[in-house]
């Protein structure tokens, strides 16, 4: 993106004076970004004072560029001034001098448009030690050359994050981080086993059985093994606690660290003075359990998403691009990332489709297992859409690329998974609310213990205070919520339900109303042929075959529905001659020597030899008698008059009724909100049994904004509302609803925005998500209750000095194990 301030920049600095706003009327409630013109619906709008007006932008990048444009124009109308203001953003990256610079590739998330890329470049170039920076918006990557003596790759990443975007390191750094996580777990377990062995004599021997010097040797050995566990294996826990202190947000890690530190300090002191109890075994066991369960969760999630990952990696491999389609079949071997829309690629049987596109030649079956997790093959022919990552199963295909690289549905899905993974830590919010109270309670009880024992027996004050801190170390509490929610997330992923926002699981479990869209949600996305009315004697299957043959010229949804119906009835299509398509009217062709028209009534009747008006009137009467809507009917006619009527409509999804019943049985209100006319909406509601006796719960003629107001009104009444739709058309209501679920429709996946995305597009899986979320939250509550009861029960014992190290360790381990085992239940269905 070095060729200009913004490739999509719609304005030059010369248009309009003093303001970058092109549409002054839009200033009050703009629906589009005032720099790049992208729609703002569903985005977090950035507002910025530009000159005398307050303007809205899609992202920080656009706001920044607009500001710079305004400033540049205020001083000079020269583009060079703008260039200077942007810190030479148009300059090509400077070559590294003498190879002394290090080059780093950073993946950047959260960029909305090319202006964001420019903003990041600008900030990076001002960072100390950065020689050159180039941000590729399309590839979502920043290429940075920096002087390793002055800065580091981490600092570069932090600089990008300070700008408001998220980064992830390159694959190598990620792989190393994964290995280190595993190493933390393995070393903790190794050390735990050794410390256990060294600790056992103290548990089993009668007092005085072990000579004091051997006892001291055992203590020192345990200390030596515990130090690396705390410093290396438990480092993430300490880091989390430190960042919680810095951020001023107390979380569960802080009391845990307090307990660990107290236990270690007491044990180290006992070792130094060669007398007293040690807790080294409790410390190592806890760290091993926590790190082990965290690692298992991460692995379970990674496995659930593995098929997406695998397809992604395959598709980043190679593509065979045709050099001169359709003239020749000569192909170049290129990386799939190098493809651009309009390219033609050949995909041999067994190969992976490298980009989203449409079939230009060939028929075959493809497997979209990466998307749905199902291997059921899909038949494709000329004009059929295919998605990147699908595997071609039978015959070679020529595919015309429509979306390549980062624009494919597959890449969009991959980013979703990445973002979801990054958000995971937030799900401990539930436990963290308890943590603050918990921390103060523990500190208060510890203080009371010290004070109490100071009066009774000062020598016992410190040991008992430490016993309280160790016993109340909320290990189980800190595992309670994350373990259960991660288990839910992985169960959902196994059913093809992607969790884009992990904290939404809690909200999904709490909903008491679902607002659902009609078309494409409760009904199939495409219309279906509902009825065929013959107006003359004939064989219905034959008439259908002729109609399907005519419609093979058209790509209208009705045409596809006719073709599907003909294919389902298994009749052979007759040959066409002299076919002609009249846009948005119909098609005309000669079949078996007869000139036929198929399309809208007035177009089709145009072929009739007789006076058209009476024929049309008769047809209209017939339509009325058959109770058909003119808009959803097409007519086939020849010179003698109309032959047949084909009526189309929305077909209910096969699992719609079961879904509605299950949702209502779960005590959730189902609302049908649709932009469609009243009659079809009411019909559908009746057939599903949604309509309340008073006609409530069914809303027709809704605009996106009236849907949003409807949901907002329910929320004011204390309802928790979920929105179920296709994730694209209802951005305002998706943003308004407490939680949103989208049924992904293959090719539109890249645009879908929702908390949960149902990749299989099955309503049964929506119901499953609902059940899983409720079950998961029940387990979280059980876990929290159990952990709290345990910690509350153990406190008096510790405070009164009854708790031996053995009991503390056993209790700590048992409560943690119980919580993790309970959480794993959430994965079963």
């Amino acid at each position: 993106m070095t060729q200009g301030p913004s490739p999509r920049k719609p304005k030059t600095p010369d248009d309009g004076a003093g303001s970058t706003t092109a549409l002054a009327g839009d200033a009050r409630a703009p629906s589009h970004c005032q720099h790049c013109g992208d729609p703002l619906a569903g985005l977090k709008v950035v507002q910025r004072q530009i000159g005398s007006t307050r303007q809205s932008f899609c992202c920080q990048g656009c706001a920044f560029i607009a500001e710079q444009l305004y400033l540049a124009r205020a001083s000079s109308r020269d583009l060079a001034a703008l260039d200077a203001a942007l810190g030479g953003a148009r300059r090509a990256p400077a070559p590294a001098a003498g190879g002394a610079y290090k080059h780093e590739q950073v993946e950047v998330h959260g960029m909305v448009c090319a202006a964001c890329a420019l903003l990041i470049e600008h900030r990076l170039r001002r960072a100390p030690g950065v020689a050159s920076a180039h941000v590729d918006f399309g590839a979502r990557r920043a290429y940075v050359a920096f002087d390793p003596a002055l800065t580091s790759a981490d600092a570069v990443r932090r600089a990008i994050e300070a700008t408001g975007y998220r980064t992830s390191s390159n694959a190598r750094a990620e792989r190393r981080a994964r290995r280190i996580e595993l190493l933390r777990v393995l070393l903790a377990w190794l050390a735990m086993m050794q410390v256990m062995m060294l600790a056992i004599p103290a548990y089993v021997a009668a007092p005085g059985d072990i000579p004091p010097d051997i006892e001291q040797l055992l203590r020192i050995a345990q200390l030596v093994l515990t130090v690396p566990v705390l410093l290396f294996s438990a480092a993430p826990i300490f880091r989390a606690a430190a960042s919680q202190i810095r951020a001023g947000a107390i979380g569960m890690d802080l009391p845990v660290v307090l307990g660990l530190a107290a236990a270690f300090a007491a044990s180290a002191h006992a070792t130094a003075v060669a007398s007293g109890a040690t807790y080294f075994d409790s410390i190592t066991m806890f760290v091993a359990l926590v790190m082990g369960s965290r690692w298992l969760q991460a692995r379970a999630l990674a496995r659930a998403y593995a098929h997406i990952d695998a397809a992604h990696r395959q598709s980043t491999l190679r593509a065979r691009r045709l050099r001169a389609w359709p003239g020749s079949m000569l192909a170049d071997d290129v990386p799939a990332q190098a493809l651009v829309p309009g390219d033609h690629v050949v995909v041999a049987a067994g190969e992976t489709v490298p980009a989203d596109g449409v079939v230009a030649r060939g028929t075959s079956t493809v497997s979209q297992a990466w998307l749905t997790g199902e291997a059921a093959p899909l038949e494709v022919g000329d004009g059929a859409p295919v998605l990147a990552g699908s595997v071609n199963l039978e015959q070679p295909l020529v595919v015309e690329v429509t979306r390549a690289g980062e624009a494919t549905s597959l890449a969009a899905l991959r980013r979703l998974v990445d973002d979801a993974g990054r958000q995971r830590p937030r799900i401990v919010e539930t436990a963290n609310r308890v943590a603050v109270i918990f921390l103060w309670a523990v500190l208060a009880i510890t203080a009371a213990t010290v004070a109490g024992w100071w009066v009774v027996d000062p020598a016992q004050a410190l040991p008992n205070a430490i016993a309280v801190l160790v016993a109340t170390c909320p290990c189980a509490l800190s595992l309670a919520a994350p373990a259960a929610l991660a288990a839910v997330q992985s169960a959902l992923a196994g059913r093809g339900v992607l969790t884009a926002r992990a904290s939404a699981i809690e909200q999904l479990a709490r909903i008491d109303a679902i607002a659902t869209d009609k078309t494409g949600t409760l009904t199939e996305a495409e219309p279906a042929l509902l009825r065929t009315v013959l107006l003359r004697a004939g064989v219905p299957a034959q008439v259908l075959a002729v109609a399907a043959a005519l419609e093979s010229l058209s790509t209208h949804p009705f045409a596809r529905a006719l073709t599907r119906a003909a294919r389902a009835s298994g009749v052979a299509l007759p040959a066409l001659q002299r076919g002609r398509v009249e846009p948005s009217a119909g098609v005309e062709a000669v079949v078996d020597g007869v000139r036929l028209r198929l399309g809208k009534a007035d177009y089709a009747l145009g072929i009739v030899d007789a006076e058209p008006a009476p024929v049309a009137a008769r047809l209209l009467k017939r339509l009325e008698r058959e109770k058909l809507q003119a808009a959803s009917v097409i007519v086939m006619a020849d010179s003698a008059g109309p032959i047949a009527l084909f009526a189309f409509g929305e077909a209910l999804r096969p699992d719609a009724k079961a879904f509605v019943d299950e949702v209502r049985a779960a005590g959730i209100d189902l609302l049908l909100v649709s932009g469609d006319r009243r009659e079809p909406v009411a019909n559908l509601a009746r057939s599903l049994g949604i309509a309340a006796p008073d006609g409530g719960n069914v809303y027709a003629h809704q605009t996106p904004d009236s849907k949003r107001q409807l949901v907002a009104g329910m929320q004011r009444a204390g309802r928790v509302v979920a929105m179920l739709g296709d994730g694209m058309n209802d951005a305002p209501v998706i943003a308004q609803a407490d939680v949103s679920i989208a049924l992904a429709q293959g090719s539109t996946l890249a645009q879908a925005r929702a908390d949960f995305i149902v990749l299989t597009s099955r309503l049964a899986d929506v119901a499953f998500a609902l059940r899983a979320a409720r079950r998961g939250m029940r387990i979280v509550r059980q876990n929290l209750a159990w952990a709290l009861v345990y910690n509350v029960a153990i406190v008096p014992l510790a405070a009164l000095g009854y708790l031996t190290p053995a009991l503390a360790a056993a209790g700590m381990a048992a409560s943690s194990l119980a919580v993790v085992a309970n959480a794993l239940r959430a994965r079963r269905q």
Partner: protein
């Protein structure tokens, strides 16, 4: 009991050595993929294994 003065430090040294070995094996990627190694022996194809590096990376 005197032998413990030798045996316990010795066991510590051994644990540290095992820990070092573990660190080396994990960091060199031997635990990256635990699933396909078992299946590899069933493959008829005897081509050398792909090292999993992205092309050019």
């Amino acid at each position: 009991m005197d032998s413990l003065y030798l045996l316990i430090p010795l066991s510590l040294v051994l644990v540290l050595a095992i820990g070092g070995l573990l660190a080396w094996s994990v960091l060199s990627g031997q635990f990256d993929d635990l699933d396909s190694e078992g299946r590899r022996i069933l493959d008829e194809d005897d081509r050398p294994r792909d090292d999993g590096q992205p092309p050019g990376g």
